[in-house]
Subunit: 701 residues, 2 copies
Amino acid sequence: MLNNFFNPGSIAVVGVSLEKEKLGNQILKNIINGGFEGDIFPVNKKATTSTYLNGLRVYPDLKEIPAKVDLCIVVVPAVYVIPVIEDCGEKGVSSAVVITAGFKETGKKGAELESKLAKIAKDLGVRILGPNVLGIIDTHSNLNASFAPTYPPSGNIAFISQSGALGCAILDQCRGEGVGLSKFISLGNKMDLDEVDFISYLKDDPQTKVILGYLENIGRGKEFIRVAKKVVKEKPIIMIKSGRSKAGRRAASSHTGALSGADEAYDVAFKEIGIIRAKTLTEAFEMARGFSFQPVPKGDKVLLLTNAGGAGIMATDACEDYSLNLTSLTEDSVKKLKEKLPPASSISNPLDILGDADPDRYRLALDTVLQDPNLDAIILLLTPQTTTNPEGVAKVIDELTKKKEKTILSCFMGGEMVNPAISILNKAKIPNYKEPEAAVRVLRNMINYRFIRERKEEKVEFFQVDKSDAERILKEEMKKGHFEVGGVNALRVMSAYGIPTVDNYLVRTPEEAVQVARKISGPVVMKIESPAIIHKSDIGGVKLNVSVDQVESSFNQIMENAERFLHGDDEIVGISIQPMLKEGKEVLIGAIRDVTFGYLIRFGLGGKYVELFRDFSTKLVPLTPSKVEEMIDETRIISRLLKGFRDEGPSDINLVRDSLLRLSRLVQDIPWIEEIEANPLVVWEKGGVIIDARIRIRKEG
Amino acid sequence: MLNNFFNPGSIAVVGVSLEKEKLGNQILKNIINGGFEGDIFPVNKKATTSTYLNGLRVYPDLKEIPAKVDLCIVVVPAVYVIPVIEDCGEKGVSSAVVITAGFKETGKKGAELESKLAKIAKDLGVRILGPNVLGIIDTHSNLNASFAPTYPPSGNIAFISQSGALGCAILDQCRGEGVGLSKFISLGNKMDLDEVDFISYLKDDPQTKVILGYLENIGRGKEFIRVAKKVVKEKPIIMIKSGRSKAGRRAASSHTGALSGADEAYDVAFKEIGIIRAKTLTEAFEMARGFSFQPVPKGDKVLLLTNAGGAGIMATDACEDYSLNLTSLTEDSVKKLKEKLPPASSISNPLDILGDADPDRYRLALDTVLQDPNLDAIILLLTPQTTTNPEGVAKVIDELTKKKEKTILSCFMGGEMVNPAISILNKAKIPNYKEPEAAVRVLRNMINYRFIRERKEEKVEFFQVDKSDAERILKEEMKKGHFEVGGVNALRVMSAYGIPTVDNYLVRTPEEAVQVARKISGPVVMKIESPAIIHKSDIGGVKLNVSVDQVESSFNQIMENAERFLHGDDEIVGISIQPMLKEGKEVLIGAIRDVTFGYLIRFGLGGKYVELFRDFSTKLVPLTPSKVEEMIDETRIISRLLKGFRDEGPSDINLVRDSLLRLSRLVQDIPWIEEIEANPLVVWEKGGVIIDARIRIRKEG
């Protein structure tokens, strides 16, 4: 479907100027100079039959063009864009790039114009890239339908950019550093086509090996997840997602909500999809070069080979930082290296072949380690010392690593003395990095990608649950105008999904309270029940360890505290009484709806101090057993507490696993829940119960 | 004292070859080609009166040189180094650079030779740089006494490197990127002169504005702290300390120890001194260029000015990551900018002057903001778009920022299109960074340095303590062969220093236990007391909340558990009984001796789960009130718990402050303590006590 954007047989440029050098003319020139081989039709409404521009006949109107047009580049002022798209529809041009700015990005009026344009284009079946884009480049079909001032070298990295201005810098940098692109796509306002469409197209594009993107937001989150999960099975996706700081924390009533930010959702989603998130452009391009040049490592066993001790130490530090496995050489390799290398060499990992290593010594070492079956990847380090011959070493590397059975990265450090060698390495498709840290970071991500690609999709488990009961409870609350559901009813919803909850009795008088407490036999917990009170203990709405003879006075005291806190209309439902339970590990489980990606589910250390400890893991719904396992492993504290810390025995982790899977099912079943949280879920050696829970319902739901 | 190393009037090179192009000859040539203006005397033992090399008379012996020699460069094989140094002594040459390798770095034999050399040099009063160095460079006195293959441009950054091989890469990189050095010093084995000597010298070197270092270890930690603290008041020190991963975790009996690694000590010391620690060479040079070119910011109010929205967003993200304060423009500036800039501009921070901004628009904007009294620093961002004129903008920046009242950094992004502009900026001493993240990181560190330089030294408080009592208790333990002191005696030591401890009674029989429990009246805590048992609760050696009638059976049970755990010789001192205290916040305070820097003192969340929460701050002894305040602020959890979280009131933080200061005094007074820890120190709303403590005594102490 998008083929016409990258491989059109013919292009019209609507909006060239006949008098001045305007944007349209520049694009026209770029198309011509780029070497595009199809027909090119400039359009200007003042054109006559004898109007020519850059040797091309100019037409007054798209419809006047006496041939088929595959792609229309629109550069007319904003107010004229709609008529041009209407012409496209009439002429049967199904693909258009709207370069023109002045739409949504300028405010309300522009946004209205854009909606109108979107509707018309959709009705006419014209697919649009833009508006407000730098354009589109395909280095393999020699298409430069952009007003970018630099044309990048050809290669196998596709770059998608939501910022045209950054796009200019990136294209220029690619040219400067010899980084080859297959395609460059400026996304602009993403009125129609967006990142989802393009990554989907690039998945099957034979010229693209790596997909790189700069995004400021993702519009269709769930579609993005679905498509990107398929794409990463074929090709790595590296993304810079900016606008992290803009993400205001959402107003939320639970910890699950309070601890979430929009950027966290991107982090969670990218991680789950298997997208590599780069923090900076440099990082992104470093990684892209690695994937572009080298095969994905077969495994995670890495060797450092160096002529400089200091560089080896820095690389080793970085390997520890990035948990990269510095493996041992086989005995056979050690033996061979001992025979060949000078005795002062350090035959270890890093393998230090000393400061006076010449190309021959690099050859001896490299030849041996390339044959070592215990190695998947090698980082070759070099500093230009007195007798070093960097170019000679580069040539040796080129020669010996042609077969590409292992992943080879290099780190030739320095300036003028190593630059010619780096050029040789670049041609040999050995990605060179300025310093060890960068090479190690790239390799870490390449190894991660190997695991991402091999990951298997898991089935989501189904449970026997009472969906209708849960829905009924929530709908009754909504009828009463309660969109924040706490206490007894929230527990009942959890219970309907088979998550164990504490016995909970709602009482309205001191007498009822005493009666219930007698029935429970043993100390009790008393809590205020009011939709207006979220943090109950903060206002003195909770009493722990109350004995039967204290129940009456506690009842009165809680009521007093609550009334002091409440305003006119706020309602007190009553006081809930629960048995005082034995101590256990306090866990939090919760879910919150993210506008982009759907429900995020959270597991972590629960209790009163949740916000202080911030020990949690977040994943996308639906959960699967292995995702639940990852969540548990990703917590620093609660995972270890549950597994049994020091003299304590293990707690019932299965209960936690099961509860998380059921909670995931719950929010999938009842999608008008905005936020749901159980805190704490108290877990004992055997069993456990939720003591308190809250649910927030979406008002429009 | 070190002046002869950088500004010698004459140099001898001992160990040139008369036949082949060896290392000595290369150094000789480097000295000549570097433009050294003093006398140069090559030495080779086979020289006759008519032996010449590179036009210079060669002498057979240092003593034959008919003139004063200020600096001797030694390049003879390792076994001949000592005689050459003896000659130095005899001739009165007080400064020598020993290039020769083959000493400590090669193993035991080399180390012996090095000790011998050190002793002789010291006796003769010859100061030595080396052995095993690349040499020394001073670009201002045109001295290149090194065998480095690249000579760096002249500038105001001094570079000290413990790795010669990395030094080569760095010098080459400096040349490639036009980074100017004042001096380059290869430290080698640091047999005599080390980083302490050189940073001390560089403090007063008028040609040096910034000190940069690559270190793998620091030998004289306390000296280093003392000297470096003075140096950073004058000049920023930027350090890369590698070998982080080598740092094995020390075997330690307390949490304070177990949580420490050697690298942490460097982190703590650098932070306290005010040294900027760089993670990579790139980061180090980025920062050095900032300090080298620009004034230290007057404050922390930063503006981003950009022609690219995307670049502005990335910079804003980075500012949030590095807690940089994006300030508001004054009303006056806003008014002026509104008059001058196109209406679509975003007159905010970032100040976005749009993609078609030409040099004139940059001039209008920059001219206004440079006069804004509310700004201390500006980051100028640019991407090369269609009508951008990067060189023109660079010239405007050069012209307008000559006065250097505000700190100006730039981030011109791209490749070929911005490189000429970057050269202009470089000449104008505007440090340019490849991406916003880097510029922001540099500015953050420059602002930090402003605060470091303004920091005032604080007096250490003195307390009334009973040092002799503490010493007596510990010495008695040592007499018994106990080097791990726990329980009652550790508490008594703390108590001698005025830190409140729980009432603690040591009993040896069930009868005694019952008697004590009666006296306490109320439930008690019982703990085993044995030097062999460190983690008491892990072996069932602790019983909490024991009522008087349970004391006897608990006594027997603890004894049983302990005996099951202990081996033949291990001694049970008894059982300690304490009152069961009301709950409070559990704090850990401790100190451990670091071999390099002396005592590290730690404060954090205490209790049983210390290792899980890892919520602590570490500083060097001696503590001062403001350091204690920093420690508290640096913890994420316990600081907030102590200040009162949610419905809880504040705890007695003053008690914590006082206890930390007293602990600091304790380890200063008794320097044969290896490790000391109180955990928990239970803190209540008013008051608090240490419940358990341990002390490890240095065996050789």
